[in-house]
């Protein structure tokens, strides 16, 4: 059965990407942040510049005792990491990496599917925040909810702007319609999308929900061992998904010189470059206060996103 084999291969590829790229980005973060701060970072694990540090971390996490507080809502507490992690695996299947149907599965309503499923990931943090029965976790959960409310919207609006430009909601379809001048045309939307995505992933400088120095990692305070590791994996898988999506929607995905042969490489390079920016921002900017977070979303990002939609609509009607 050729079809069965093909589907199996595609799923395997998606799964391997899901397991490998987050680790690559995590290791890069260790090394890049270290060098930006005048340190060396991990140097011992695996021999060459500590390349196996995250593997060692994983082995360590797997052997740690799994503590569920006596007061916690046991089932929800245990399930939360799975809810946080799975959506990012499912999103990866819809992101095209090359021309000619080089995608896990071409979903008609791709952009819609991707945004809807990404939203589910945040539910994991909310479940963890409530089920822990811990004051820090509850605060973290509340902050997560507030952040989701504020930043989901600019993300939706700017994604809709790209759908307008392409005249389709299918991700491979958008890339087929892509022209180079879309990059300057959609650049404001791209920045808004990327920033809102960072906030949704709770990455610095938008990490008030997990702020380790004030609310002890928020929703994850009570987590240990494997379950904590899964939350970390979800964060880095989230970076992969956000960078990949931004590359596909706003930077032309596989488009570039020799796209027919090297399309996948362009997607990978753009994704990794954006992931580098995510790391860079963490090393550069201090954490935003909760009110500054809300202000940025409602008074800057949303008006900008609306302006981008107006611009996209006018230009698109003018040229067609």
């Amino acid at each position: 059965m050729n079809d069965t084999l093909e589907v199996a291969l595609r799923l395997l590829a998606v799964f391997v990407i899901f397991l490998v790229l987050p680790l690559v980005i995590g290791q890069t973060e260790h090394k890049v942040m270290a060098h930006m701060q005048g340190r060396l970072g991990p140097m011992y694990a695996g021999g060459f510049h500590g390349w196996a540090q995250l593997v060692a971390d994983g082995v360590k996490f797997a052997q740690k005792e799994d503590v569920v507080p006596a007061n916690a809502d046991r089932r929800v507490f245990q399930l939360a990491p799975a809810v946080a992690l799975l959506p990012y695996l499912l999103v990866l299947v819809a992101i095209p990496i090359g021309p000619d149907n080089a995608v896990g599965e071409a979903i008609d309503a791709g952009i819609f599917f991707v945004l809807a499923v990404m939203g589910v990931g945040v539910l994991g943090s909310l479940m963890a925040g409530w089920a822990s029965a811990n004051k820090f976790s509850l605060l973290g959960g509340l902050r997560t909810a507030a952040q989701l409310l504020a930043y989901e919207l600019p993300m939706l609006l700017t994604a809709a702007s790209v759908a307008m430009a392409a005249g389709t909601v299918s991700l491979p379809g958008m890339l087929d319609a892509f022209e180079w001048w879309w990059v300057p045309w959609q650049i404001v939307g791209g920045v808004v999308f990327f920033v809102a995505g960072l906030a949704e992933l709770q990455r610095p400088p938008f990490d008030a929900p997990v702020a380790d120095s004030e609310i002890i990692f928020g929703a994850y305070t009570e987590y240990t061992g494997l379950r904590f590791a899964l939350f970390l994996l979800a964060e880095y898988a989230g970076i992969v998904v956000l960078s990949g999506l931004t590359a596909v929607l706003f930077l032309g995905g596989w488009h570039g010189p020799f796209a027919d042969e090297l399309g996948w490489l362009w997607t990978l390079l753009k994704t990794l470059a954006l992931a580098f920016v995510v790391i860079w921002l963490r090393a550069t900017y201090p954490r935003l206060r909760e009110d500054q977070l809300q202000k940025l979303a409602w008074t800057v990002l949303i008006p900008l996103a609306l302006a981008q939609i107006a611009l996209t609509g006018v230009v698109k009607v003018a040229i067609s």
Partner: protein, 156 residues
Amino acid sequence: MTYVTDVPEMAVAPAGGPPGHGAVPAADTPTQWAAAYFDGYSTVGLLAVVGVLFLTVAFVGGRLLRPVVPTPEKLLTYECGVDPVGEGWAHTQVRYYVYAFLYVIFAVDSIFLFPWATVFAEPGFGGTTLVEMFVFLGFLTVGLLYAWKKGVLEWT
């Protein structure tokens, strides 16, 4: 608008296309259309199963590897090393229900942007839909300005 790739042959069979006709038409009856459409999601479902299996293996494997030595102190809720005061599920005044309202209004509105986005620049729509778009954006902007004026978007 549709971006169906390689589905028709596979999809027609289980959907049971129109019976009694010799030649099978390309997916143009509603049933076949739906079958072709949902075929893509069966792969997604399969991947979800793979993901659940992965997590199950991880959890079961973890259970075999790790020690289980619970003590009452270990199972105590963490509160900076002192005994927890009161209970964790504290009642809080949810002051930002206003944002929840704002969010729901905006999000439901923007969902309608997506189907509209696929057709708005087609021949025969052009100028009219553009006016509609500005009316839509106008509503959102007025809502945002109202919230702003009400002081909802001020924090001190």
